[in-house]
C-alpha cells in the first residue's frame, strides 16, 4: 500500500485491515480516521497492495 500518516510517508505491508493498521501505528482508533483511496473506511476494510491509504489524526482543536 501507499501509506501517508498525517501527510508524512510511512511504510507498512498490505493484507491487514484498517483497524490493524491503526494498532500497528500505535494510534488510537478514537483519535484518527483512515481513508482508503480517498474514502473513509470501516475498521474491517482489508487493505490491498494497490490501495492508497491516508491516516488522519483528528483530536485537536475545537
Amino acid at each position: 500500500m501507499a501509506l501517508m500518516v498525517n501527510g508524512k510517508k510511512r511504510k507498512m505491508t498490505s493484507g491487514i485491515t484498517c483497524a490493524q493498521l491503526v494498532k500497528k501505528l500505535s494510534l488510537s482508533r478514537e483519535e484518527c480516521i483512515v481513508k482508503v483511496n480517498g474514502k473513509p473506511a470501516a475498521d474491517g476494510r482489508k487493505i490491498g497492495a494497490k490501495d492508497k491509504v491516508d491516516v488522519i489524526t483528528i483530536v485537536f482543536g475545537g
Partner: protein, 307 residues
C-alpha cells in the same frame, strides 16, 4: 470492490464502524445518524425555542464548523435567527486560518458573522499576554478572556442562547475531571444547558453536540466537505485533560460505549441531585458590568495585572 465492508442498513460501502452500536454505516446512514442525534439532544434538553436569536461560538475548528452546518439545517424546520461569533485570541499562525474558515463558512450559509478580538477589546492578544509567562498559564488566561468576551458579545447582539461545539469526548472528560478534582457542585452545574449559574447577566449556553463523539464529528466534516484544519493550539497545556482523554480513549476501545455511559450516568444523577443555591447573590463588576462573585470580575482583574 476488494476487501470492502457493507453498511448494516443498506447495500452500500461502509465508511465507518461504530463499535458501541455494533454496526457499520455508509455515508448516507452515518450522516443521518449524526443529524438525528443532534436534533434529539436539542429536543431532550429543550435547548431552543422558535424564533430565538441563537449565537454560535464559531472558532472555525471542526466541532464548531459542524455545529454551524447542523444549526443552519435545523433552522429550516425550526425557525431560528442565527449569528456566528468568532473570538480571535491573537495567536499567530494558529488562529488566522480558522478565522478565515469561520468567515467563509458563515458566508456560504448566509449566516451573519461577527469577530471579536482580545487585542481590540482588552488591548492584549494572547501572544502578548504570554510573553515571558510559563506555558501552563495560557489556558486559564485565555479561558477567562474568552468566556467574558463571548458573554459580552452575546448581550451586545441580543443573543438569547449561545450554542457551543462541545462534543461527547469533551463532556465525558469534564465529568470525570470534576470527580477527580472533587468538585461535585461544579459538576452539578454542568450539563446540556447553561453550565454557569443562572442569572440574567449570563447568556445560557447549550451543547447540542454533547452526544456525538469527537471522531464522528471529524468524519462528518470530511464526508460533508466542511473544511477543517487539524491543528493544535501552540499554547495547549492541559496536562490533566490530555491524560484523561488518552485513558478514556483506551477504555472506549476496550469497552465500546464507555463515553456514552459516563455522560448518561451523570445525567441520571443530575436529575435527582439539585445543586444548592449559590451562597451569595451575584454582583456585577464595577468596571465592566459583567456578573461576578466579587467587586471586580476575573477578566478585569487580569487586565489590571497586565496594564
Amino acid at each position: 470492490m476488494d476487501g470492502g465492508i457493507f453498511c448494516s442498513f443498506c447495500k452500500s460501502e461502509a465508511v465507518v464502524t461504530l463499535a458501541y452500536a455494533n454496526s457499520c454505516m455508509c455515508k448516507k446512514h452515518f450522516c443521518e445518524y449524526v443529524e438525528k442525534r443532534f436534533r434529539r439532544t436539542v429536543r431532550e434538553f429543550s435547548m431552543l425555542k422558535k424564533g430565538e436569536l441563537v449565537g454560535i461560538g464559531l472558532s472555525g475548528g471542526k466541532d464548531s464548523s459542524v455545529l454551524l452546518h447542523l444549526m443552519h439545517s435545523l433552522s429550516k424546520s425550526l425557525p431560528l435567527r442565527l449569528v456566528a461569533i468568532t473570538i480571535d485570541e491573537g495567536i499567530k499562525g494558529y488562529r488566522p486560518p480558522t478565522v478565515k474558515i469561520a468567515r467563509q463558512e458563515a458566508k456560504k450559509l448566509g449566516i451573519m458573522h461577527k469577530t471579536y478580538s482580545f487585542a481590540s477589546v482588552y488591548g492584549y492578544s494572547m501572544d502578548s499576554v504570554m510573553k515571558g509567562k510559563p506555558q501552563e498559564a495560557a489556558c486559564s488566561y485565555c479561558g477567562v478572556f474568552r468566556r467574558h468576551l463571548l458573554n459580552k458579545a452575546c448581550k451586545e447582539l441580543g443573543v438569547q442562547k449561545l450554542a457551543i461545539g462541545h462534543n461527547l469526548d469533551d463532556v465525558s472528560q469534564t465529568v470525570l475531571m470534576n470527580i477527580m478534582r472533587n468538585e461535585p457542585m461544579r459538576l452539578l452545574r454542568f450539563g446540556g444547558v447553561a453550565g454557569i449559574i443562572e442569572d440574567e447577566g449570563f447568556v445560557p449556553r447549550i451543547k447540542p453536540l454533547m452526544r456525538i463523539p469527537e471522531r464522528e464529528i471529524g468524519l462528518y466534516a470530511i464526508l460533508k466537505g466542511i473544511p477543517i484544519k487539524f491543528q493544535e493550539c501552540p499554547y495547549a497545556y492541559t496536562a490533566m485533560r490530555q491524560t484523561v482523554r488518552a485513558q478514556l480513549n483506551e477504555m472506549e476501545e476496550k469497552y465500546p460505549g464507555t463515553k456514552f455511559r459516563i455522560l448518561n450516568s451523570f445525567l441520571e444523577i443530575k436529575k435527582i441531585a439539585k445543586p444548592p443555591p449559590p451562597k451569595e447573590r451575584l454582583k456585577y463588576c464595577e468596571k465592566c458590568g459583567e456578573p461576578t462573585n466579587s467587586k471586580i470580575c476575573a477578566c478585569c482583574k487580569l487586565v489590571e495585572k497586565l496594564d
